[in-house]
Symmetry: C2
Subunit: 209 residues, 2 copies
């Protein structure tokens, strides 16, 4: 065989192998991350975030603490905080939520908050109006470095992921961002509308195709 | 060339041609179709459905008339009727809606309502509790017979459709049902969560891939 056909065969083999490896799905409902300063304004100077449940990503946890978010057009109550603190407050909503709030947030990777709309946040002890921070989450996969080697993936690579193929609403999500860090655990993050479009939940798996 | 490679080349040519033809997208929010009898119970014996706006499918129209739908777990107000009358009342909700209602409706083609959950419907003049009829809509494409020939598609064929490829959330929807009738107009029907997962709306297009 020529060197070219060897390379093609190797690439196809790599892709077939990758497509057989399940990636656990984590579905995000609307939630927010808070700076320590914003948390203290909302919940009081003596308060600290308390753990409702640990998330699959090491060190991350859903908090018992929840707030209301509000624009001139609409509002949502009991939006849960995800801990720990962040260096910038970030509010992740679905596109359906954004319509009800009258906002047009962009699709962004976590932490990429320039030129995003703001919102009024109310907690039991106070109110914060952030000038930006509302985003639609860019769907993404968390890999450890060992996972990344196993999948043949590099940080920031964009892949296609098949979900729900055993159900009634199979979907291939394109433009899925890969993130690699030794602080991560293997997980595909979708928002609730993306998950519902494929009829998948937290006990299902995606496959890079 | 062999006959086999001729056939393969012809099939690839057909698929490439098909993938270049835009199909207008129609996004459905929650809505319902009513029998004449249920309509009269809800809106009064003298009432008739009135046109809010014509839909792309010939003869179909969103009505001014809206109802409330309700279970023991949840409710939605102002759910719009789509006319004309049907032979069986049918309520189409999103998966997110179904969670709020505490229902687990199956994914079904329109009119396929056996073994589906019921719901309480309230209009200005009365209430109907249907014993079935709540579904998640199976995503589908309406073709005229001329469209079907143009796309090389047959009635009931299942296809894959790419949407949102120019945006930040490209998706390939699998298991899309093709329906062919001289009463139809060319249109891909998605529910609002499917549309949001691909960030597409009523002015966008899908492509069979």
């Amino acid at each position: 065989m020529s060197s070219d056909s060897d390379k093609i065969a190797a690439e196809i083999g790599k892709r077939m192998d990758r497509a057989s490896k399940p990636i656990p799905i984590g579905v995000s409902n609307r939630h927010l991350h808070l700076t320590k300063e914003d948390f203290k304004t909302l919940f009081g100077q003596e308060a600290e975030p308390t753990v409702y449940r640990q998330l699959r990503q090491p060190g991350f946890f859903a908090c018992n603490e929840a707030v209301n978010i509000e624009t001139e057009k609409g509002a949502f109550k009991n939006v849960r905080m995800i801990g720990p603190y962040r260096t910038r407050t970030q509010i992740e909503v679905s596109m359906g939520d954004a319509v009800k709030l009258g906002l047009k947030p962009p699709v962004r990777a976590s932490g990429s908050l320039d030129n995003t709309p703001g919102i009024k946040i109310t907690g039991p002890k106070g109110t914060v109006t952030v000038q930006g921070g509302v985003i639609l989450s860019k769907r993404h996969i968390h890999f450890t470095p060992a996972d990344a080697r196993n999948f043949g993936i590099e940080d920031k690579q964009i892949v296609r992921v098949r979900c729900g193929e055993k159900g009634d609403r199979g979907v291939v999500f394109e433009q899925v961002l890969c993130r690699v860090s030794d602080k991560f655990a293997l997980e595909l993050h979708l928002d609730v509308e993306e998950a519902n479009a494929a009829m998948v939940g937290n006990s299902d798996f995606g496959y890079i195709v």
